[in-house]
Each structure stands twice: as C-alpha cells, then as structure tokens.
C-alpha cells in the first residue's frame, strides 16, 4: 500500500504531471474567448512575452517543463531561457520556428509527437495561440522577467487622443486602452446614481433622501467641488471603517468559532474592532500589515499592536481529544502561512508545501523557510475547552482600565482577607473533627447497663469500679460536648465567611469578564526547529531549514542572527517588495469595480491573470507607497476618477461582449454583497442601529440550523431588541453554520482566506429577499413611515427611500395599480391583514388594510433588481 500522504492529498487537489485539465463545458470555452477578446490587443501590435506567451506556456507546459525539478520531463524547462535545462538553444531557436523543436511539437499531426500530449487532457494550442508563439519566436523569442516579481516603477503618463475627457493619470491609462480598441468612455452618470454608488462603496450604506437633496443641489452648482466634498465627508464617517473592514475579514477568514470538531466559540472581537478603527483612523497600510504579522514583537507593543497580532490566531483549530497534537500544530502553522501568502503576498505559497511550486519559482524549501517564522508560537496546538473563559484561548492579553484594575485589587485584597479568616478556622474545625474521631476511638465502650447505672440513684450502691467508670464517662461526655459546641459555632461562622467569599469571587469574575482582552501571537523563548516536511507530512521531517524568504524576491534584512517575524514584516512592506503594494491596490480597486485590474486578486503568480491595465496598476502601487501607504488617499483617487464616474448603462450586446467590464468602458454595475443588502434594508426602513464595536450579535434566523449540525446539541438563540438591527459586520459567525442571510448571497463561510467573492443569482436568493421575516418587518416599518407622508407623495417617498431614484410615470402607474389591487385583495381578507400587521397598533380596519397593502408594496421595492444592485 502506498505511504499515507495525508497533507499532500489535503492541500493539492490539482491535476499534476501528465494528468491534466480540460474544461467540460463547451460554453465555458466560448465564454473564456469572449473575455480574452476584450482584453487582448489587435494583431498588429508586438507580441509580449508577459502578456501573450507566458500564460500559454504556464497553463500547458510548466507542469512538466517548469520550476519543479521533481516533475520535470525531458530535461527541459520552458519557464526560463537560460541556465540548466533552459529553453533557448535547446527547444527554441530565436528567429526560426523551423529550427525550434517547440514549434514542431505543438503543431505536430502525429499524436505521439504532439505537445501537450493528448493523454494529458490539456487543450492543444489553437490556431490563434500557435500564431502568437510563431510570432514570438520569429521576433527573437525574448523572455521577460515575470512582471509581478519586478519592483514597480512609475510609468510614463500616457498620450491619448482625447485630451478633453480627464486630466487625471488614472483616466488617461484607461482612455489609452479604450482608444487602442477604438472605444470611448461612457458619459458621466447622473447625480443620484453617483451619490448612491459612492455612498455604498465608501460606507456600505445607501444615501438618505436628505443626502440626495443636499448633493443634487450642490452638484448642480459645482459638480467637481460637490463630488470632492462628498467623498471627503464619506471617508470621515465611522461607517467607512465598518464597510472596508468587512472585506478584510473575508480575506483573513475572521469568525467567532474554531471551525472544527465541536466548533467552540472563540473571542476575536478585539481584532475585528481594531480593523474597523484602523481604517477609520487611516492607519498607514504598511503599519497595518506590520502590526498583523508581528505586532507582538515591538519592543514596547501598544495595545493595538498586540491586538493586531491576533491575525496569526484566526486559523481553524481543533479541540483536544481526538487529533494528534503534533499534526494539529502543523496544520495550524500551514494555515497561518497560507493566510500570509494570500492576504499580503498574493501568492499561492501553500502549493509548495509538498513539492516545489509547479508554476511559480517557490521551492518547497522556500515554503518551509516562511513556515519557520510562524512555527514558534507559544500556544497549545489544540483548544482545551476547560481553560477557555469567555472564548479567550491562550495566549491572550488583558487590558484592564484603571478603574477595573483598582476594583480587581480591592476584590483580591478582600479575598485574601477572607481567606486569612477562613484558613485558621478551617484548620481548627479540622482539628476538632479529628479529635472527635479520636475520642470516638478511645472512649470506653458504653455498656448496656451504663445508662441504668447513671440513672438509678435509687438502686443499690455502686461498686467503686463502677463509680470510677461513670466518672470517666462523664468527663469524656463533657469534653465531647464542648468540642461539638465549638465545632458548631465554627461551622456557622465559616459558612458565613465562605458565602461572603463566593460572593466576592463572583464579583471578581464579573469585573474580570468586563476586562478587555485579545488573543495574540507570542513567541516561545527557545526557537522551535523547522524541517522540510517530506511530501508535506507532519511526521516526515527532512532537511532542517532556517527562516527566510523565497530567492526570487528581494533579500531579507534581518536585524539579528535569527530573523524574526518583525524582519519578515519589514521585508513585506519595504518599497523593494514587488508584491505587497500591487496586491493591496488591486484589491482596493476591486472594491469599486467588482473586478481587480488583476482579476485573480488572490494570485499574482504565473497562473494568475495578467493585469488588464499593467501600467495603471503600477502607477497606483508606486504612488500608494510614496504617499506613505495612505489608504484613504488611494480610495479618494480612485473614486475621484472620471473612470469611476461613468454611467453603467450599455446595450445588452456591450454587456455581453465585456461582461466584467475589464475595459472600463462604463461604470460599475453589479449586485451588492449580502451585508450591504441587509444593511440597506435596515437603513432605509429606519431600523438600523449605528452602535459600533463590541460582542458579535445574533439576528434571528430560521430555527434548527445549528442543532442540525452541532455535536453538542447547541441551539441558536437570537438576540433581541436593538442588537438584531446592528450592521452585518457584527453578526455572529459560526463556521459550521454561518448565517443563511449571508451565505445564500455568496458570503464565504470563513474556512479559508477569500480575496474576492463570487456573485451568483439564484432562486434561493429570490426566496430570501421575498420571504425573510426581518426583511418583511423592515418593509412593514417603511410602510408605516410612508403612510405618515401626504397621500400624493407616498409612492415617490417609498420608491426614493429604497432606490435613491425617482419613479417615472410608468413606474408610478405600475405601483399604483399594484397598490389598488392589493387594497382590494386585503379588503376582502381580514385574516391576512391581521397576520401581516401583527404587532402593529392600527386603529381602523381600513387603516390596517392600507398598511398591509403598503407593506407588500415596499416588499416589492426591496426585491427590484435595481435595489440589490450597485450601478
């Protein structure tokens, strides 16, 4: 039987070696070529190795002719021109396809010669692709270093034909690309659309009607000024941090439970709140990164830096009892390193844990050198529920306030005092108990006649022996009685003191419970050795490795003999690091346009997609670093652009030709995230609570979801009152069963680091928005506010409150007809009216019918496509 390859199998569900992919849907292939069409350039332009050739070779060839020496075939690597087994002069002859083996193999008619081999199931190169390779070889087969691993440099501002459109550099890069395809940007969206778009994008919430009035008039006077003032205002709102933080929480798989086995609660609230505060305070991104990787390693870490280091504790963790601790330890570290790779580096480093990376120059040894930085945690590898209080798992740090500190000292002193009172009395009580025991053992046995002896003074005289015996008995009795009395009193007073002590102890627990705490990263004193794990198996250590970074990236500059996580953090945010800034700006760009300039925002490696606008990406990255990693400035720059302000309207054909808007020829239009949809409904109905921070909350969800999966019969108990109307970022996230209102709309379950959510459109989403009880309650709430408006304004009021748009006459007609029909329907069904308006106090039956009809009308508005969509 083959050796057990558990981790190997665990992390690499890919097709390697000769087993390889073909997509099973004809439609998918068509789809892909549509995409390619929209971003590829016209045939006349020169072939670019980075843009045109490397992706082809990576997909079809690198698995066997790439960086992994272990699986390399025919002593040929096509990922580099020179060096051992390099391609040039061996398989590729520059300027001559006839002399290039590669060319003959990819165009062979003979199946035994064809590359990629038919049994690999890899798609053969099509005509367009072979043509690109032909042109590349004929033009000299120039290799370029991989773009993402080169330090970005500020590109030359582009020259465009249309100088009128915008003076902003961002726009000029976008325009040049459009002009190269004989396209023009779309006109600017109208004021309402702009306001709604940017309010959602910067705060996660829609604008209020008042905000619409205000902005419309300001925009009419001076559009540029009004726009900038609006953006500055939005960036300064506390809701900004809540909104931007939410995306970060997907990326670092933030959750309220362990995610394995019994799925215990754990408390990372401090970390979540820190992320929100960091964005609101505009913490420079380099500090934001540094604090998370190594906040615990500052000489005098601040509270925030310690909390930030909790990033290293967000991984899944099993509770003790069934798994093997050493294996759990390895899994935790792997998870930690994977998170660093995805969140900061934009690389799939985890692919190199069993073997060298198949596509990127990351060796297995490189992987374990990174692993070594995170291998030295001073923590149990498994959760011991008995040691966990309030969800805090060691190591954690306490941050008592002065008042709490004083209160705790007072209570501790009291406890000591009580203990001092209790101890001697306890001792005495024990002593007496013991004495009584001894007495029982040594006292003379009472014979049956003894009592009679003592009582019968009328009886004949006692013998001297009898008399002596009686005396002794009496003496013993007296001693016993006095001891028993003392013991009784002692016990009374002990009980009182102990009660007092228990009470004080409870007070102490209550105060301690209120003390802010955070799970943090902590190093062991003695550095744990790290070995390459052969095939990734926890119990197969190979060569020992030292802490370090992959060789194709800039060198680490350690401040001490053994490099620390802080050295790694500094390296990560050094201006020479080619990845960190690019990965960050790309993900911020994605927040606004739905797709990053690099679509694969989690993978900037060879198998990632090349950027649609490479120079724009570099321009943003370089200026981001130069600005001191100023996040708000970056976001402001993006939303100030004319590109962002375009109208999103187009013809269906244009939508189909560039479904993801990679050309940026129009404004963004796509469905809002689950949290934004929920928060919007709460906000526009007037139910939203704006209270920030603090413990996670549980808005109602259908019964039985937790119990159906739980190991411990755990039941979901919804919160009540204002808590259930707080923003969705505060919703309790149980990994085994996250809230369905979120997951149905594509929120990930936070098991793994996710850099971009998918967006689907399903019937279960339709059911959720139509029928969810809280969403219907919100519709009822909005209906009540609507009914407070003058009758002739009501449709307009509700429509504008929900969509931020004004209804035209056709829309008013449709809604008015619906309303009339609903009134008729409800007027004849009082039972339905009572059900729908349950809990609402309404005077007359007629008013109740009115409320019911309006509730359904508002429910209709909340289900419009334009309501759940940002445009």
């Amino acid at each position: 039987m083959p050796p057990v390859l558990m981790l190997a199998a665990a992390l690499c569900t890919t097709v390697l070696g000769s087993l390889a992919p073909i997509r099973s849907h004809a439609e998918d292939v068509d789809r892909k070529s549509e995409d390619t069409e929209s971003v590829s350039v016209a045939d006349e332009s020169p072939v670019s190795f980075s843009r045109d050739i490397r992706p082809l070779l990576s997909n079809r060839c690198f698995a066997c002719h790439g960086p992994d020496a272990g699986s390399r075939e025919g002593s040929l690597r096509l990922d580099q021109p020179d060096g051992d087994e390099g391609a040039i002069g061996y398989a590729i002859e520059p300027h001559s396809v006839e002399d290039s083996e590669v060319w003959h193999r990819i165009t062979a008619d003979d199946e035994s010669m064809l590359m990629p081999p038919p049994d690999s199931h890899l798609k053969p190169f099509n005509e367009e692709e072979t043509e690109l390779i032909r042109r590349w070889i004929e033009s000299g087969a120039v290799y370029e270093d991989f773009w993402a691993f080169q330090v970005p440099e500020r590109p030359q501002p582009p020259v465009t034909q249309n100088a009128e459109w915008s003076a902003q550099t961002v726009d000029q890069f976008v325009l040049r690309k459009l002009e190269s395809q004989q396209r023009r940007p779309s006109e600017e969206a109208d004021a309402r659309t702009l306001l709604r778009r940017v309010t959602f994008d910067l705060t996660g919430l829609p604008p209020s009607r008042e905000a619409i009035r205000h902005f419309e008039s300001a925009y009419a006077n001076s559009p540029e000024l009004a726009w900038e003032e609006l953006i500055d205002d939005l960036l300064s709102r506390p809701q900004f941090g809540e909104h931007i933080a939410r995306h970060w929480l997907d990326l670092v798989r933030f959750a309220d439970t362990n995610g394995m086995h019994k799925d215990f609660y754990r408390n990372h609230v401090a970390y979540r709140d820190w992320v929100i505060r960091s964005f609101n305070d505009n913490l420079p991104y380099d500090d934001f990164v540094r604090d998370q990787i190594a906040g615990d390693l500052y000489p005098q870490p601040t509270k925030d830096q310690l909390i930030a280091s909790g990033f290293n504790r967000l991984h899944l963790i099993i509770d003790r009892g069934t798994a093997l601790p050493e294996e759990s330890h390895v899994k935790n570290v792997l998870d930690r390193v994977t998170a660093v790779g995805t969140a900061f580096m934009g690389l799939t480093v985890q692919c190199a844990q069993c073997h060298d990376h198949k596509f990127d120059p990351i060796t297995q040894k490189d992987f374990f050198s990174l692993y070594a930085f995170f291998n030295n945690i001073d923590a149990e590898p498994e959760t011991n529920p008995r040691q966990v209080v309030d969800g805090f798992q060691e190591p954690f740090v306490r941050f008592p306030t002065d008042a709490q500190r004083a209160e705790l000292s007072r209570l501790d002193a009291e406890l000591i005092k009580l203990d001092q009172q209790i101890a001697p009395r306890n001792e005495r009580a024990n002593q007496i108990t013991k004495q009584l025991q001894q007495i029982k053992e040594i006292e003379p046995e009472e014979e049956e006649s003894d009592d009679e002896l003592a009582e019968s003074d009328v009886a004949e005289a006692m013998t001297p022996e009898e008399e002596a015996r009686l005396k002794t008995i009496r003496a013993w009795d007296a001693l016993k009685e006095s001891l028993e009395n003392e013991l009784g009193q002692l016990r009374l007073s002990l009980a009182k003191s102990q009660k007092q002590r228990a009470k004080t102890q409870r007070e102490r627990i209550a105060v301690e419970h209120g003390v802010e705490k955070a799970m943090v990263m902590k190093e062991r004193d003695e550095v744990r050795k790290t070995f390459v794990l052969i095939r990734g198996q926890y119990d197969a250590p190979g060569e020992e490795v030292q802490r370090g970074v992959p060789g194709f990236l800039p060198p680490l500059e350690p401040q001490s003999e053994t490099p620390s996580r802080m050295d790694l953090a500094d390296w990560m945010v050094s201006p020479e690091n080619p990845l960190t800034a690019r990965v960050a700006v790309n993900r911020f760009w994605q927040l606004f346009f739905g797709v990053g300039l690099v679509k694969t925002s989690e993978d900037f490696g060879n198998q990632g997609e090349v950027p649609s606008h490479p120079e724009l990406l570099d321009e943003l990255a370089v200026s981001f670093v130069e600005s001191g990693w100023d996040v708000k400035a970056l976001l402001k720059r993006i939303v100030m652009s004319k590109t962002y302000r375009q109208s999103s309207r187009a013809t269906p054909d244009e939508f189909k030709a560039d479904a993801e808007n990679r050309l940026l020829s129009r404004g963004p239009r796509y469905r809002l995230d689950a949290e934004m949809i929920r928060d919007q409904i709460l906000f526009s109905s007037g139910l939203l609570s704006t209270r920030m921070h603090g413990p996670s909350v549980k808005p109602p969800q259908p019964d039985g979801l937790w119990k159906a999966v739980s190991m411990t019969g755990e039941r979901f108990r919804p919160d009540q009152g204002e808590s259930i109307y707080r923003r969705s970022i505060y919703t309790f996230w149980k990994r085994a069963m996250p809230p369905p209102q979120m997951t149905i709309l594509n929120a990930p379950n936070r098991d793994a680091c996710i850099a971009r959510r998918e967006r689907t459109n399903t019937p279960t989403q339709a059911l959720l928005l139509l029928n969810e009880s809280e969403y219907l309650r919100a519709a009822g709430q909005l209906a009540q506010s609507t009914l407070a408006e003058p009758a002739e304004d009501r449709i307009l009021f509700a429509y504008e409150t929900v969509t931020a748009k004004l209804p035209d006459s056709k829309e008013v007609d449709v809604l008015q007809t619906l309303l009339n029909d609903l009134r008729d329907e409800y007027a004849s069904s009082p039972k339905l009216v009572d059900d729908l308006c349950e809990g609402v106090f309404v005077d007359s039956p007629q008013d109740k019918v009115e409320l019911a009809a309006w509730t359904v009308l508002c429910n209709t508005l909340y289900n419009l496509d334009i309501t759940k969509t940002k445009d």
Partner: protein
C-alpha cells in the same frame, strides 16, 4: 454575469429568458429551463461527442443520479460486514506488531495496549451470492444480491472532521467543493423546479454517544459558484430556507406582486441593458415555482399504505432516517441529481454492543425499503446508491474490554462501503482485508478511487471535470492518481 465561469444552465437560462422577453410573465415561467428545450439549446460537452451523450458527460453514463447514505461517525466494519470468524480465538490477545506496523493511532488510544476484540454479533450467509452479513441487519441481508461490498476502502484521515471533509470534498482541508457540487457543476440540472443537490441530515438517531458534528462545508460549493452547493432540507419549518410566504401574504398576493415586480424589472432592463436583470426575473419566477414543487415533494400523503409500511413505523416521524429515505426516493423520481443523507451516531468508542444495534435498526429497514422501492419503480438501474461512513473501526478494543462493553477506535486503513444500482454489479465483494480487518490485502480502493468510480458511472471522466482555482485545474479526486474500479461495474 459576474462569475467568470458560466455554466450550461446559466447560459441556457439567459437564452430562454431572452426568448421570453415581451411575452407575459406566465409564458416566461413556462419557458424558463424546460428540460427538453434545455437539451436542444445546449450542445454536449466534448466536441464531436455523439449526440446521445447527455450534457456534461464525457461518455454514456450508467447512472443519472446518486443517493449517498452517509453514516457519519464511522460504523464498525468488523461488526457489520467484514466477517472475521477466527478472531474469537484471539480475544484479549495483543494485535501483532507485524499487523499494526506502528501505524498512526488517535490521541485516545495512543500508547495503550492494542488488544483484540472479536465481534460479539453473529454473521450468516445470505442470498444467492452467499454473502456474509451481520445479524444486526436482517432486512438489508435480504438485499445482498443487489449489493456490491467494497471491503478494501481506505483513507488517510483518522479523525471525523478531516475524514468527513475528505470523503465529501476529496481533501481534508476545508474550502473545496463537495461531490454533489461537482456534479451540479459538471452535469447541470435535470429538474427545472428543484435544486440539483439536496442534503437531508437525520434529526435523531439511536446511539446517544459521541455524536459528531456536521459542517455545511460537507455539502458546500468551495470555489465553485455557490449555486452548486447542496440545499439542506430542514426537518422543521420550511424544508428549503425562506420557502414559504410570510403569514399575511398568500400565493395570490405573491403572484400579483411578482407580476408588477417583473414589469418593473423588465422596464429597467430595457433602460439599463444589463442581462443580469433578466436572470433576476427568471430566478424570481423559479422561486415562485419552488413554492409549489418543494411542498409537493415533501408531502407524503399520496404514498400507499404498503409503501409506508415498507419503510417502517419511523417513516411517520419527520426528520427520521426512514422519512428521509422515502423523500430520497421521491427526489430520485423527480430527477434531483445528488441526494445525500447524513445519519449520525456511529462513533462507538465504548459500549458498542449496546449502541450498535439501535443504530442498525435506524437504518436497516429504511435502506432496504429504499432499494426495493427504487427497484419497483425502475429507478434503481440508473440510480447509484452508496452507503458508507468516513472510515472504519479498529480490531483492537477501546474502553473496558469485555464482550458487552467494548468499544472500537477510528481506523482509516480499511472499511466497507456498499454500493447498489446505477450500473454496479450486485452480489459481489471487492477487495479483501487481512484476518484482523486491519490492512487491505487485495484490491485497495481509496476514497478518491470511489469518487472516480462514481463519476465514471455518471459518465464523467474524473480527470476532465476540472475548475481553475488558485492557478490550478482543480478536481474532485485531487493530486494523487485515482483509479476507476472497473471490476465492480456491470
């Protein structure tokens, strides 16, 4: 669309939604996703494939759908299927080190002596095939000629959470799509009114000890578009979340409201041009149809008394394994692609003799009824039924070692899976274990081999059902070679 992979059905939906534009809402509802239209509109996957190969298949399938009966917690193969009569002589003897070979054990029995415990339950030969079966499964024993026993199943996982995750998604680490999600993605939908992939966890079970947790990732879509995720049917309340209209809104009002909603959405589509709006309209109509089709599916009042009796008394109890088996048959009739039951309570670390019989009683008659019911309706031939847990149990005992209270620890090195229908040979055993039911000695079948075989029976080449993620063409069977177990295919 925003997700970069648009599946067959999505394109189809778009196509048909286009065709429906301008027609009334009712007409649109009847047009969207009719199976006949769908197959006309969507070409078969492999180019040049003969036209009788269904969409998404690489070759002609033997099975159209799967019912997966997952025995969460890992039933003991030694006490149920893998008969080892010689063990009786070795009660309380140490397991020879030559057998255990220092293999990894769990933290629960690490460092403890490995003392052999034979099964305390009787075995007898059944059916024409003379298959050995435990006396604990008298009903299922009548079906052995339909069953294929794979005694040589093995896995790497030694604990439940990774074990179930690996069995359901192909790898131990969370984040990968489940079997049913892969099928939904690869093969598309067969039924226009129901989800492709439905999951039914039992609400109760007999064994009260050590009930292991389930995780929604076991039926999740991982990196596949989330519409492929399993829909977990709830035992109480709506079977599908948020299915019912809220009280105060009846179907007529909902219909009326959807008509206006559709009118407004269509108007906006005309102005904005985004085809995504058409998808929204189509999905709202599909939601409306599900409000009828799902209750019709879960309402068993039209079942004959004979059928109900076949599943046993418990079938009247919503959430029971028996009820879920009956629902599975109803789903199979309606062409739900992948139906997965989870029955928990098999984790018998101690008091196995007391707890195993009850668990067996939970599943014995209903599983048997399901097989018979499918067969009677001509569904068994193209429905693959699989009965398995995440791993097996050890020959050595755990807890107090006497014949009434012994338990068994987790054992990944061999266990038994049962298959029936869907093009699988009946009345056979495949693979063999040593005399201790400890190591596989012939024809090992890894979990990923079972996955490859299941896909094969459904007409899918496991090497070609792939999805690009994190730079790799990911697949259910993962990185290690997987083999289709051709020997068991009829």
């Amino acid at each position: 669309m925003h997700n970069h992979i648009t599946s067959t059905s999505e394109n189809r939906r778009r196509f048909l939604a286009n065709a429906g534009m301008g027609l009334g809402t009712t007409a649109l509802a009847s047009l969207v996703l009719g199976p006949k239209l769908a197959s006309a509109a969507a070409p078969s996957a492999a180019s040049g494939a003969p036209s009788d190969i269904p969409t998404g298949c690489h070759f002609a399938p033997k099975a159209k759908r799967v019912i997966f009966l997952f025995m969460a917690g890992a039933p003991s193969q030694i006490d149920l299927f893998d008969y080892k009569p010689e063990l009786v002589k070795q009660f309380n003897q140490p397991l020879p080190p030559s057998v255990s070979q220092g293999q990894r054990v769990t933290a629960m029995t690490r460092g403890k002596e490995q003392l052999i415990v034979p099964s305390r339950f009787g075995f007898s030969q059944q059916g024409e095939s003379g298959m050995w079966m435990s006396d604990l499964l008298p009903h299922l024993s009548t079906q052995v000629d339909k069953l294929c026993f794979i005694d040589s199943m093995h896995t790497e996982s030694i604990n439940h959470d990774p074990g179930k995750t690996a069995f359901c998604t192909g790898t131990e680490l969370p984040g990968k799509p489940s079997m049913g999600a892969w099928l939904s993605y690869g093969l598309g939908t067969l039924n226009k009114d129901l989800p492709d992939y439905i999951v039914m966890p039992s609400a109760h079970w007999s064994g009260k000890v050590n009930v292991q947790a389930l995780y929604s990732r076991l039926w999740g879509s991982g990196f596949l578009p989330s519409k492929h995720q399993g829909t977990s049917f709830q035992t109480s309340g709506d079977p599908v979340l948020f299915l019912s209209n809220p009280s105060g809104i009846d179907p007529a009002i909902r219909r009326r409201m959807l008509d206006s909603l559709g009118d407004l959405n269509r108007k906006h589509f005309g102005e904005i041009g985004d085809p995504e709006i058409e998808t929204t309209i189509a999905q709202q109509e599909m939601a409306f149809r599900m409000q009828t089709s799902v209750p019709e599916l879960t309402d068993i009042s039209d079942e004959s008394p004979e059928t109900l009796a076949m599943y046993g008394e418990e079938v009247n109890n919503p959430g029971s394994y028996a009820r879920n088996c009956l629902l599975a048959r109803r789903m199979a009739e309606r062409d739900v692609r992948f139906i997965q039951l989870f029955h928990r309570g098999w984790d018998h670390h101690s008091k196995l003799p007391a707890n195993l019989p009850g668990q067996c009683q939970d599943v014995d008659q209903p599983t048997t009824a399901l097989l018979k019911d499918l067969e009677q309706r001509g569904l068994l031939e193209d429905t693959l039924v699989v009965f398995a847990g995440e791993f097996g149990r050890t020959v050595y005992g755990q807890g107090k070692l006497d014949m009434d209270t012994y338990g068994r620890d987790h054992h990944p090195r061999c266990f038994t899976a049962l298959l029936a229908g869907g093009g699988v040979k009946g009345g056979i055993r495949h693979g063999a274990t040593d005399e201790f039911s400890y190591n596989v000695v012939a024809d090992p079948v890894h979990v990923r081999d079972l996955h490859a075989t299941m896909l094969h029976l459904l007409g899918v080449d496991h090497k070609r059902l792939t999805f690009p993620f994190q730079g790799l063409e990911q697949k259910l069977t993962g990185v290690e070679p997987a083999r289709v177990v051709k020997e068991i295919i009829a």
